[in-house]
Protein backbone atom coordinates (compact mmCIF):
# COMPACT_ATOMS: atom_id res chain seq x y z
CA UNK A 1 0.00 0.00 0.00
CA UNK A 2 1.68 3.16 -1.20
CA UNK A 3 0.59 6.16 0.77
CA UNK A 4 2.84 9.14 0.95
CA UNK A 5 0.82 12.07 2.17
CA UNK A 6 2.70 15.03 0.83
CA UNK A 7 1.91 18.18 2.73
CA UNK A 8 0.56 20.95 0.62
CA UNK A 9 2.34 23.77 2.40
CA UNK A 10 5.76 22.88 1.04
CA UNK A 11 5.62 25.30 -1.87
CA UNK A 12 8.90 25.83 -3.69
CA UNK A 13 8.90 29.58 -3.20
CA UNK A 14 9.61 29.12 0.50
CA UNK A 15 7.28 31.16 2.64
CA UNK A 16 3.75 29.90 2.23
CA UNK A 17 0.91 32.46 2.44
CA UNK A 18 -1.59 32.01 5.25
CA UNK A 19 -3.87 29.10 4.43
CA UNK A 20 -7.47 29.94 3.67
CA UNK A 21 -8.66 26.38 4.10
CA UNK A 22 -6.99 23.92 6.48
CA UNK A 23 -7.87 20.28 6.83
CA UNK A 24 -6.42 18.26 9.68
CA UNK A 25 -6.73 14.46 9.59
CA UNK A 26 -10.12 14.68 7.94
CA UNK A 27 -11.65 11.22 7.71
CA UNK A 28 -15.06 10.26 6.45
CA UNK A 29 -16.72 6.89 6.70
CA UNK A 30 -19.93 5.85 4.99
CA UNK A 31 -20.98 3.09 7.36
CA UNK A 32 -18.03 0.69 7.50
CA UNK A 33 -16.75 2.04 4.19
CA UNK A 34 -13.75 4.36 4.49
CA UNK A 35 -14.25 7.11 1.89
CA UNK A 36 -11.56 9.58 2.92
CA UNK A 37 -8.57 8.70 5.06
CA UNK A 38 -6.80 11.34 7.16
CA UNK A 39 -6.58 14.21 4.70
CA UNK A 40 -4.29 16.94 5.94
CA UNK A 41 -4.09 19.89 3.62
CA UNK A 42 -3.61 23.65 3.52
CA UNK A 43 -4.99 25.74 0.67
CA UNK A 44 -3.62 29.28 0.52
CA UNK A 45 -5.96 32.19 -0.08
CA UNK A 46 -6.67 33.14 -3.72
CA UNK A 47 -5.54 29.75 -4.96
CA UNK A 48 -7.30 27.88 -7.72
CA UNK A 49 -7.00 24.44 -6.19
CA UNK A 50 -7.92 21.44 -8.32
CA UNK A 51 -8.55 17.91 -7.09
CA UNK A 52 -8.25 15.00 -9.52
CA UNK A 53 -8.71 11.35 -8.75
CA UNK A 54 -10.28 8.18 -10.05
CA UNK A 55 -14.04 7.87 -9.69
CA UNK A 56 -15.10 6.79 -6.22
CA UNK A 57 -12.01 8.28 -4.56
CA UNK A 58 -14.05 10.60 -2.34
CA UNK A 59 -13.51 13.83 -4.28
CA UNK A 60 -17.15 14.79 -4.06
CA UNK A 61 -17.29 13.75 -0.39
CA UNK A 62 -14.40 16.11 0.27
CA UNK A 63 -16.17 18.98 -1.47
CA UNK A 64 -19.46 18.33 0.30
CA UNK A 65 -17.66 18.52 3.63
CA UNK A 66 -16.05 21.82 2.62
CA UNK A 67 -19.54 23.04 1.70
CA UNK A 68 -20.90 21.96 5.07
CA UNK A 69 -23.38 19.59 3.41
CA UNK A 70 -21.68 16.62 5.12
CA UNK A 71 -19.63 16.49 8.31
CA UNK A 72 -16.27 14.72 8.68
CA UNK A 73 -16.36 11.55 10.78
CA UNK A 74 -13.07 12.60 12.34
CA UNK A 75 -10.72 15.52 11.97
CA UNK A 76 -11.18 19.21 11.51
CA UNK A 77 -11.87 21.63 8.67
CA UNK A 78 -11.04 25.27 9.25
CA UNK A 79 -11.73 28.18 6.97
CA UNK A 80 -9.85 31.21 8.22
CA UNK A 81 -10.40 34.94 7.87
CA UNK A 82 -14.08 34.74 7.15
CA UNK A 83 -15.17 37.94 5.44
CA UNK A 84 -18.05 39.47 7.36
CA UNK A 85 -21.24 39.80 5.37
CA UNK A 86 -20.26 37.09 2.92
CA UNK A 87 -21.45 33.50 2.87
CA UNK A 88 -18.66 31.09 3.60
CA UNK A 89 -19.00 29.18 0.36
CA UNK A 90 -21.04 28.73 -2.76
CA UNK A 91 -21.07 25.59 -4.81
CA UNK A 92 -21.35 24.98 -8.53
CA UNK A 93 -22.92 21.54 -8.59
CA UNK A 94 -22.37 18.69 -10.98
CA UNK A 95 -25.24 18.27 -13.41
CA UNK A 96 -28.51 20.16 -13.46
CA UNK A 97 -28.83 22.14 -10.28
CA UNK A 98 -30.81 25.15 -11.48
CA UNK A 99 -34.32 25.23 -10.08
CA UNK A 100 -36.58 24.39 -13.04
CA UNK A 101 -39.31 26.59 -11.52
CA UNK A 102 -37.22 29.75 -11.57
CA UNK A 103 -36.09 31.88 -14.48
CA UNK A 104 -32.41 32.40 -15.23
CA UNK A 105 -32.54 35.66 -13.32
CA UNK A 106 -34.29 34.19 -10.27
CA UNK A 107 -31.83 31.31 -10.19
CA UNK A 108 -28.82 33.61 -10.35
CA UNK A 109 -30.30 35.82 -7.63
CA UNK A 110 -31.20 32.91 -5.35
CA UNK A 111 -28.32 33.13 -2.88
CA UNK A 112 -28.65 36.89 -2.52
CA UNK A 113 -32.41 36.65 -2.00
CA UNK A 114 -31.98 33.98 0.67
CA UNK A 115 -29.60 36.37 2.44
CA UNK A 116 -32.10 39.23 2.18
CA UNK A 117 -29.70 41.44 0.26
CA UNK A 118 -31.15 44.81 -0.82
CA UNK A 119 -33.02 44.65 -4.11
CA UNK A 120 -30.86 47.32 -5.75
CA UNK A 121 -27.72 45.33 -4.95
CA UNK A 122 -29.30 42.16 -6.31
CA UNK A 123 -30.19 43.93 -9.56
CA UNK A 124 -26.65 45.21 -9.97
CA UNK A 125 -24.72 42.08 -8.97
CA UNK A 126 -26.91 39.58 -10.78
CA UNK A 127 -26.92 41.79 -13.88
CA UNK A 128 -23.12 41.95 -13.72
CA UNK A 129 -22.53 38.21 -13.52
CA UNK A 130 -25.23 37.28 -16.02
CA UNK A 131 -23.51 39.77 -18.32
CA UNK A 132 -20.12 38.21 -17.67
CA UNK A 133 -21.43 34.74 -18.46
CA UNK A 134 -23.30 35.96 -21.53
CA UNK A 135 -26.66 35.00 -20.06
CA UNK A 136 -28.17 38.44 -19.52
CA UNK A 137 -30.20 38.23 -22.72
CA UNK A 138 -31.66 34.91 -21.55
CA UNK A 139 -32.57 36.15 -18.06
CA UNK A 140 -36.33 35.63 -18.50
CA UNK A 141 -36.01 32.06 -19.79
CA UNK A 142 -36.50 28.90 -17.78
CA UNK A 143 -33.75 26.26 -17.51
CA UNK A 144 -35.54 23.79 -19.77
CA UNK A 145 -35.26 26.34 -22.55
CA UNK A 146 -31.45 26.41 -22.24
CA UNK A 147 -28.67 24.14 -23.47
CA UNK A 148 -26.45 22.31 -20.98
CA UNK A 149 -23.65 24.84 -21.45
CA UNK A 150 -25.98 27.77 -20.83
CA UNK A 151 -27.29 26.14 -17.68
CA UNK A 152 -23.81 25.74 -16.26
CA UNK A 153 -23.11 29.39 -17.10
CA UNK A 154 -26.09 30.40 -14.99
CA UNK A 155 -24.94 28.05 -12.26
CA UNK A 156 -21.54 29.79 -12.26
CA UNK A 157 -23.19 33.20 -12.24
CA UNK A 158 -25.31 32.10 -9.25
CA UNK A 159 -22.23 31.08 -7.29
CA UNK A 160 -20.20 34.20 -8.10
CA UNK A 161 -23.16 36.53 -7.52
CA UNK A 162 -23.53 35.17 -4.02
CA UNK A 163 -20.02 36.56 -3.43
CA UNK A 164 -18.82 33.76 -1.18
CA UNK A 165 -15.58 33.49 0.75
CA UNK A 166 -14.62 30.36 -1.16
CA UNK A 167 -15.98 28.82 -4.34
CA UNK A 168 -16.55 25.10 -4.64
CA UNK A 169 -16.98 23.43 -8.00
CA UNK A 170 -17.93 19.79 -8.40
CA UNK A 171 -17.10 18.66 -11.95
CA UNK A 172 -19.20 21.52 -13.31
CA UNK A 173 -18.30 20.87 -16.96
CA UNK A 174 -18.24 17.08 -17.03
CA UNK A 175 -21.49 16.82 -18.98
CA UNK A 176 -20.45 19.29 -21.68
CA UNK A 177 -18.91 18.70 -25.08
CA UNK A 178 -15.31 19.67 -25.79
CA UNK A 179 -16.08 22.99 -27.49
CA UNK A 180 -18.43 24.20 -24.83
CA UNK A 181 -15.98 23.11 -22.19
CA UNK A 182 -13.17 25.18 -23.72
CA UNK A 183 -15.41 28.24 -23.93
CA UNK A 184 -16.50 27.85 -20.35
CA UNK A 185 -12.91 27.40 -19.15
CA UNK A 186 -12.09 30.75 -20.74
CA UNK A 187 -15.09 32.44 -19.21
CA UNK A 188 -14.51 30.95 -15.79
CA UNK A 189 -10.87 32.08 -15.77
CA UNK A 190 -11.82 35.57 -16.92
CA UNK A 191 -14.38 35.96 -14.15
CA UNK A 192 -12.07 34.39 -11.60
CA UNK A 193 -9.19 36.78 -12.46
CA UNK A 194 -11.41 39.69 -11.37
CA UNK A 195 -12.01 38.37 -7.89
CA UNK A 196 -9.29 35.78 -7.28
CA UNK A 197 -11.40 33.97 -4.77
CA UNK A 198 -10.13 30.75 -3.30
CA UNK A 199 -11.50 27.95 -5.47
CA UNK A 200 -11.65 24.23 -4.86
CA UNK A 201 -12.44 22.57 -8.18
CA UNK A 202 -13.06 18.88 -8.64
CA UNK A 203 -12.57 17.09 -11.94
CA UNK A 204 -11.58 13.80 -13.47
CA UNK A 205 -10.02 15.55 -16.46
CA UNK A 206 -6.27 16.15 -16.23
CA UNK A 207 -6.39 18.69 -19.07
CA UNK A 208 -9.01 20.67 -17.25
CA UNK A 209 -6.97 20.54 -14.05
CA UNK A 210 -3.81 21.89 -15.71
CA UNK A 211 -5.73 24.51 -17.70
CA UNK A 212 -7.42 26.00 -14.66
CA UNK A 213 -5.40 25.23 -11.56
CA UNK A 214 -2.61 26.77 -9.52
CA UNK A 215 -2.21 23.53 -7.63
CA UNK A 216 -3.41 20.07 -8.45
CA UNK A 217 -3.97 17.42 -5.85
CA UNK A 218 -4.02 13.85 -7.10
CA UNK A 219 -5.97 11.44 -4.91
CA UNK A 220 -5.55 7.73 -4.50
CA UNK A 221 -8.24 5.22 -5.37
CA UNK A 222 -10.63 4.65 -2.45
CA UNK A 223 -10.07 5.15 0.39
CA UNK A 224 -9.16 8.64 -0.77
CA UNK A 225 -5.77 9.83 0.35
CA UNK A 226 -3.48 12.55 -0.98
CA UNK A 227 -1.13 10.98 -3.50
CA UNK A 228 0.68 14.11 -4.52
CA UNK A 229 0.23 17.83 -4.96
CA UNK A 230 1.62 19.50 -8.07
CA UNK A 231 2.22 23.21 -8.55
CA UNK A 232 1.18 24.61 -11.91
CA UNK A 233 3.55 27.43 -12.81
CA UNK A 234 1.85 28.44 -16.02
CA UNK A 235 1.51 32.23 -16.33
CA UNK A 236 -1.78 34.01 -15.78
CA UNK A 237 -3.94 35.30 -17.30
CA UNK A 238 -4.09 32.14 -19.35
CA UNK A 239 -5.28 31.69 -22.87
CA UNK A 240 -6.98 28.34 -22.80
CA UNK A 241 -6.13 27.46 -26.40
CA UNK A 242 -2.61 28.93 -26.54
CA UNK A 243 -1.78 27.13 -23.32
CA UNK A 244 -1.79 23.81 -25.13
CA UNK A 245 1.15 24.92 -27.25
CA UNK A 246 3.39 25.34 -24.25
CA UNK A 247 5.86 22.52 -23.50
CA UNK A 248 5.26 22.97 -19.78
CA UNK A 249 1.57 22.25 -20.30
CA UNK A 250 2.23 18.95 -22.01
CA UNK A 251 4.72 17.94 -19.37
CA UNK A 252 2.33 18.69 -16.54
CA UNK A 253 -0.47 16.76 -18.18
CA UNK A 254 1.89 13.84 -18.77
CA UNK A 255 3.21 13.80 -15.19
CA UNK A 256 -0.18 14.03 -13.59
CA UNK A 257 -1.54 11.35 -15.88
CA UNK A 258 1.31 9.08 -14.86
CA UNK A 259 0.39 9.57 -11.21
CA UNK A 260 -3.29 9.19 -11.85
CA UNK A 261 -2.83 6.18 -14.08
CA UNK A 262 -1.73 3.94 -11.23
CA UNK A 263 -4.83 4.84 -9.26
CA UNK A 264 -7.20 4.43 -12.17
CA UNK A 265 -5.70 1.01 -12.87
CA UNK A 266 -6.06 0.06 -9.25
CA UNK A 267 -9.75 1.08 -9.26
CA UNK A 268 -10.30 -0.91 -12.40
CA UNK A 269 -8.57 -4.08 -11.18
CA UNK A 270 -10.58 -3.84 -7.98
CA UNK A 271 -13.83 -3.56 -9.95
CA UNK A 272 -13.09 -6.41 -12.37
CA UNK A 273 -11.30 -8.47 -9.71
CA UNK A 274 -12.66 -10.08 -6.58
CA UNK A 275 -16.45 -9.93 -6.86
CA UNK A 276 -17.72 -6.85 -5.04
Amino acid sequence: MAMQATTATGSESGIAPAPKISLRDVTRRHGVNLALDRITLDIPASTFFVVVGPSGCGKTTLLRMLAGLDAPTEGEIRISNPQPGHPQNAMVFQGDSLFPWMTVWENAAYGLKMRNVAASVITEVVGHYLGKTGMYGARALYPHQLSGGMRQRVSIARAFANDPDILLMDEPFSALDEQNKTLLHEELLRIWEETRKTVVFITHSVDEAVTLGDRIMVMTAGPGRIKTIVNVDLPRPRNVVELRHMPAYGELVYNIWAQLREEVDRTRSRETGSGS
Binding site: P87, A90, M91, D96, W101, G111, M114
Partner: protein, 258 residues
Amino acid sequence: MTRRRSTAWAWNDRSISILSPLILLGLWEICARTHLIDVRFFPAPTNIVKHLVDLAASGALWKHVGASLYRLAVGFVVGCIPAIVLGLAIGLYRPVRAAFDPLISATYPIPKSSLLPLILLIFGLGESSKIAMVAIGVFYPVVINTAAGVRQIAPIFLDVGRNFGASRFNMFRTVALPGSLPLIMTGIKLGAGMGLVLIAIAEMVGAKQGLGYMIWNAWELFDVETMYVGLFVIAIIGFVMNTGFDALERAIVPWRKG
Protein backbone atom coordinates in the same frame (compact mmCIF):
# COMPACT_ATOMS: atom_id res chain seq x y z
CA MET B 1 -41.26 31.43 -41.79
CA THR B 2 -41.03 28.57 -39.35
CA ARG B 3 -42.88 30.70 -36.89
CA ARG B 4 -45.86 31.12 -39.19
CA ARG B 5 -45.89 27.43 -39.96
CA SER B 6 -45.94 26.46 -36.29
CA THR B 7 -48.86 28.77 -35.55
CA ALA B 8 -50.66 27.33 -38.56
CA TRP B 9 -50.13 23.89 -37.10
CA ALA B 10 -51.40 24.94 -33.72
CA TRP B 11 -54.49 26.34 -35.39
CA ASN B 12 -54.95 23.10 -37.31
CA ASP B 13 -54.70 21.02 -34.14
CA ARG B 14 -57.29 23.18 -32.50
CA SER B 15 -59.64 23.07 -35.46
CA ILE B 16 -59.41 19.28 -35.54
CA SER B 17 -60.32 19.07 -31.86
CA ILE B 18 -63.30 21.33 -32.47
CA LEU B 19 -64.35 19.60 -35.68
CA SER B 20 -64.22 15.99 -34.49
CA PRO B 21 -67.10 16.26 -31.99
CA LEU B 22 -69.08 18.34 -34.48
CA ILE B 23 -68.68 15.66 -37.14
CA LEU B 24 -69.81 13.02 -34.68
CA LEU B 25 -72.88 15.12 -33.83
CA GLY B 26 -73.55 15.56 -37.53
CA LEU B 27 -73.50 11.81 -38.11
CA TRP B 28 -75.79 11.32 -35.14
CA GLU B 29 -78.17 13.94 -36.55
CA ILE B 30 -78.27 12.25 -39.96
CA CYS B 31 -78.82 8.80 -38.47
CA ALA B 32 -81.62 10.12 -36.28
CA ARG B 33 -83.34 11.96 -39.13
CA THR B 34 -83.16 8.95 -41.41
CA HIS B 35 -84.29 6.72 -38.53
CA LEU B 36 -81.23 4.55 -38.79
CA ILE B 37 -81.21 4.73 -34.98
CA ASP B 38 -84.14 4.60 -32.62
CA VAL B 39 -85.04 8.21 -31.83
CA ARG B 40 -86.82 7.15 -28.65
CA PHE B 41 -83.39 6.35 -27.20
CA PHE B 42 -81.21 8.56 -29.37
CA PRO B 43 -83.10 11.77 -30.19
CA ALA B 44 -81.53 14.05 -32.80
CA PRO B 45 -78.96 16.48 -31.37
CA THR B 46 -80.89 19.46 -32.76
CA ASN B 47 -83.92 18.36 -30.74
CA ILE B 48 -81.78 18.01 -27.64
CA VAL B 49 -80.35 21.49 -28.18
CA LYS B 50 -83.86 22.88 -28.70
CA HIS B 51 -84.91 21.23 -25.48
CA LEU B 52 -81.83 22.59 -23.75
CA VAL B 53 -82.74 26.11 -24.84
CA ASP B 54 -86.30 25.62 -23.57
CA LEU B 55 -85.10 24.37 -20.22
CA ALA B 56 -82.62 27.22 -19.97
CA ALA B 57 -85.26 29.77 -20.85
CA SER B 58 -87.67 28.41 -18.25
CA GLY B 59 -84.93 28.62 -15.61
CA ALA B 60 -85.30 24.96 -14.68
CA LEU B 61 -81.87 24.11 -16.07
CA TRP B 62 -80.07 26.88 -14.16
CA LYS B 63 -81.52 25.72 -10.88
CA HIS B 64 -79.98 22.28 -11.39
CA VAL B 65 -76.68 23.56 -12.80
CA GLY B 66 -76.36 26.04 -9.95
CA ALA B 67 -76.99 23.39 -7.30
CA SER B 68 -74.44 21.02 -8.82
CA LEU B 69 -71.77 23.68 -9.31
CA TYR B 70 -72.20 24.91 -5.77
CA ARG B 71 -71.75 21.41 -4.33
CA LEU B 72 -68.85 20.78 -6.65
CA ALA B 73 -67.07 24.01 -5.69
CA VAL B 74 -67.54 23.60 -1.94
CA GLY B 75 -66.64 19.92 -2.04
CA PHE B 76 -63.58 20.71 -4.11
CA VAL B 77 -62.26 23.22 -1.59
CA VAL B 78 -63.12 20.99 1.38
CA GLY B 79 -61.30 18.04 -0.18
CA CYS B 80 -58.42 19.83 -1.86
CA ILE B 81 -56.96 21.98 0.90
CA PRO B 82 -56.47 19.27 3.54
CA ALA B 83 -55.20 16.96 0.79
CA ILE B 84 -52.44 19.41 -0.22
CA VAL B 85 -51.44 20.05 3.40
CA LEU B 86 -51.41 16.36 4.28
CA GLY B 87 -49.68 15.45 1.02
CA LEU B 88 -46.86 17.93 1.65
CA ALA B 89 -46.50 16.65 5.21
CA ILE B 90 -46.38 13.03 4.02
CA GLY B 91 -43.77 13.92 1.43
CA LEU B 92 -41.61 15.94 3.82
CA TYR B 93 -41.80 14.07 7.13
CA ARG B 94 -41.14 10.38 7.54
CA PRO B 95 -43.32 9.80 10.64
CA VAL B 96 -46.32 11.40 8.92
CA ARG B 97 -45.73 9.16 5.94
CA ALA B 98 -45.44 6.09 8.17
CA ALA B 99 -48.73 7.00 9.84
CA PHE B 100 -50.83 7.87 6.78
CA ASP B 101 -49.41 5.90 3.86
CA PRO B 102 -50.97 2.55 4.84
CA LEU B 103 -54.32 4.20 5.62
CA ILE B 104 -54.43 5.90 2.25
CA SER B 105 -53.28 2.85 0.29
CA ALA B 106 -55.86 0.69 2.05
CA THR B 107 -58.83 3.00 1.50
CA TYR B 108 -57.89 4.34 -1.94
CA PRO B 109 -59.03 1.28 -3.96
CA ILE B 110 -62.55 1.40 -2.50
CA PRO B 111 -64.81 2.73 -5.26
CA LYS B 112 -65.93 6.09 -3.95
CA SER B 113 -69.44 5.59 -5.28
CA SER B 114 -69.83 2.55 -3.00
CA LEU B 115 -69.38 4.89 -0.04
CA LEU B 116 -72.57 6.77 -0.88
CA PRO B 117 -74.86 4.75 1.45
CA LEU B 118 -72.41 5.21 4.31
CA ILE B 119 -72.11 8.92 3.58
CA LEU B 120 -75.89 9.24 3.50
CA LEU B 121 -76.04 7.46 6.83
CA ILE B 122 -73.53 9.83 8.38
CA PHE B 123 -74.47 13.13 6.74
CA GLY B 124 -78.14 12.61 5.98
CA LEU B 125 -79.98 13.46 2.78
CA GLY B 126 -79.07 17.18 2.76
CA GLU B 127 -76.34 19.20 1.11
CA SER B 128 -73.55 17.93 3.33
CA SER B 129 -73.68 14.37 1.99
CA LYS B 130 -73.25 15.65 -1.60
CA ILE B 131 -70.39 17.91 -0.59
CA ALA B 132 -68.76 15.07 1.34
CA MET B 133 -68.90 12.80 -1.71
CA VAL B 134 -67.16 15.41 -3.87
CA ALA B 135 -64.61 16.09 -1.15
CA ILE B 136 -63.72 12.41 -0.87
CA GLY B 137 -63.35 12.14 -4.62
CA VAL B 138 -61.05 15.17 -4.76
CA PHE B 139 -59.07 14.23 -1.68
CA TYR B 140 -57.43 11.00 -2.83
CA PRO B 141 -55.86 12.00 -6.14
CA VAL B 142 -54.65 15.29 -4.65
CA VAL B 143 -53.09 13.80 -1.52
CA ILE B 144 -51.40 10.97 -3.42
CA ASN B 145 -50.02 13.20 -6.15
CA THR B 146 -48.87 15.90 -3.74
CA ALA B 147 -46.92 13.39 -1.64
CA ALA B 148 -45.40 11.88 -4.77
CA GLY B 149 -44.63 15.39 -6.01
CA VAL B 150 -42.57 16.19 -2.93
CA ARG B 151 -40.75 12.87 -3.02
CA GLN B 152 -39.76 13.20 -6.68
CA ILE B 153 -37.90 16.47 -6.04
CA ALA B 154 -34.27 15.69 -6.87
CA PRO B 155 -32.06 15.74 -3.73
CA ILE B 156 -29.70 18.14 -5.48
CA PHE B 157 -32.31 20.91 -5.16
CA LEU B 158 -32.37 20.43 -1.40
CA ASP B 159 -28.55 20.66 -1.43
CA VAL B 160 -28.71 23.87 -3.45
CA GLY B 161 -31.21 25.32 -0.99
CA ARG B 162 -29.02 24.45 1.97
CA ASN B 163 -25.82 25.58 0.26
CA PHE B 164 -27.30 28.98 -0.54
CA GLY B 165 -28.58 29.43 2.99
CA ALA B 166 -32.33 28.89 2.61
CA SER B 167 -34.15 28.93 5.94
CA ARG B 168 -36.62 26.18 6.82
CA PHE B 169 -39.49 28.32 5.62
CA ASN B 170 -37.70 29.32 2.41
CA MET B 171 -36.79 25.70 1.79
CA PHE B 172 -40.52 24.98 1.83
CA ARG B 173 -41.50 28.06 -0.17
CA THR B 174 -38.75 28.01 -2.82
CA VAL B 175 -38.07 24.27 -3.15
CA ALA B 176 -40.72 21.88 -1.78
CA LEU B 177 -43.86 23.70 -2.92
CA PRO B 178 -42.81 24.76 -6.43
CA GLY B 179 -41.04 21.44 -6.92
CA SER B 180 -44.21 19.48 -6.24
CA LEU B 181 -46.58 21.92 -7.96
CA PRO B 182 -46.69 20.11 -11.33
CA LEU B 183 -47.89 16.92 -9.68
CA ILE B 184 -50.23 18.81 -7.34
CA MET B 185 -51.87 20.24 -10.47
CA THR B 186 -52.16 16.75 -11.96
CA GLY B 187 -53.84 15.61 -8.75
CA ILE B 188 -56.20 18.57 -8.80
CA LYS B 189 -57.28 17.84 -12.37
CA LEU B 190 -57.89 14.18 -11.63
CA GLY B 191 -59.68 15.11 -8.41
CA ALA B 192 -61.97 17.61 -10.10
CA GLY B 193 -62.94 14.99 -12.67
CA MET B 194 -63.63 12.49 -9.91
CA GLY B 195 -65.71 15.13 -8.11
CA LEU B 196 -67.86 15.62 -11.18
CA VAL B 197 -68.49 11.87 -11.45
CA LEU B 198 -69.44 11.62 -7.80
CA ILE B 199 -71.69 14.64 -7.69
CA ALA B 200 -73.81 13.20 -10.52
CA ILE B 201 -74.12 9.89 -8.68
CA ALA B 202 -74.77 11.48 -5.30
CA GLU B 203 -77.55 13.66 -6.69
CA MET B 204 -79.38 10.64 -8.03
CA VAL B 205 -80.17 9.59 -4.48
CA GLY B 206 -82.21 11.74 -2.17
CA ALA B 207 -81.73 15.03 -3.95
CA LYS B 208 -84.41 17.43 -5.16
CA GLN B 209 -82.16 19.40 -7.50
CA GLY B 210 -78.87 19.14 -9.33
CA LEU B 211 -77.89 17.64 -12.66
CA GLY B 212 -77.75 14.11 -11.25
CA TYR B 213 -81.32 14.50 -9.97
CA MET B 214 -82.39 15.96 -13.31
CA ILE B 215 -81.05 12.95 -15.20
CA TRP B 216 -82.50 10.42 -12.76
CA ASN B 217 -85.85 12.14 -12.67
CA ALA B 218 -85.97 12.30 -16.49
CA TRP B 219 -85.31 8.57 -16.60
CA GLU B 220 -88.18 7.89 -14.22
CA LEU B 221 -90.49 9.98 -16.41
CA PHE B 222 -89.02 8.54 -19.60
CA ASP B 223 -88.19 12.09 -20.65
CA VAL B 224 -85.18 11.07 -22.76
CA GLU B 225 -84.42 14.52 -24.15
CA THR B 226 -84.08 16.03 -20.69
CA MET B 227 -81.80 13.15 -19.78
CA TYR B 228 -79.56 14.03 -22.73
CA VAL B 229 -79.62 17.69 -21.80
CA GLY B 230 -78.29 16.69 -18.38
CA LEU B 231 -75.55 14.57 -19.92
CA PHE B 232 -74.62 17.35 -22.37
CA VAL B 233 -74.39 19.91 -19.64
CA ILE B 234 -72.20 17.65 -17.48
CA ALA B 235 -69.91 17.08 -20.46
CA ILE B 236 -69.71 20.83 -21.03
CA ILE B 237 -68.93 21.48 -17.36
CA GLY B 238 -66.19 18.84 -17.49
CA PHE B 239 -64.73 20.37 -20.62
CA VAL B 240 -64.78 23.93 -19.28
CA MET B 241 -63.28 22.75 -15.98
CA ASN B 242 -60.44 20.97 -17.76
CA THR B 243 -59.72 23.94 -20.01
CA GLY B 244 -59.75 26.20 -16.97
CA PHE B 245 -57.33 24.01 -15.02
CA ASP B 246 -55.05 23.74 -18.06
CA ALA B 247 -54.93 27.53 -18.28
CA LEU B 248 -54.33 27.76 -14.53
CA GLU B 249 -51.53 25.24 -14.83
CA ARG B 250 -49.86 27.18 -17.63
CA ALA B 251 -50.04 30.29 -15.49
CA ILE B 252 -48.66 28.85 -12.25
CA VAL B 253 -46.40 26.10 -13.64
CA PRO B 254 -44.76 27.92 -16.56
CA TRP B 255 -41.67 25.69 -16.39
CA ARG B 256 -43.56 22.51 -17.17
CA LYS B 257 -42.56 21.29 -20.61
CA GLY B 258 -45.13 20.66 -23.30
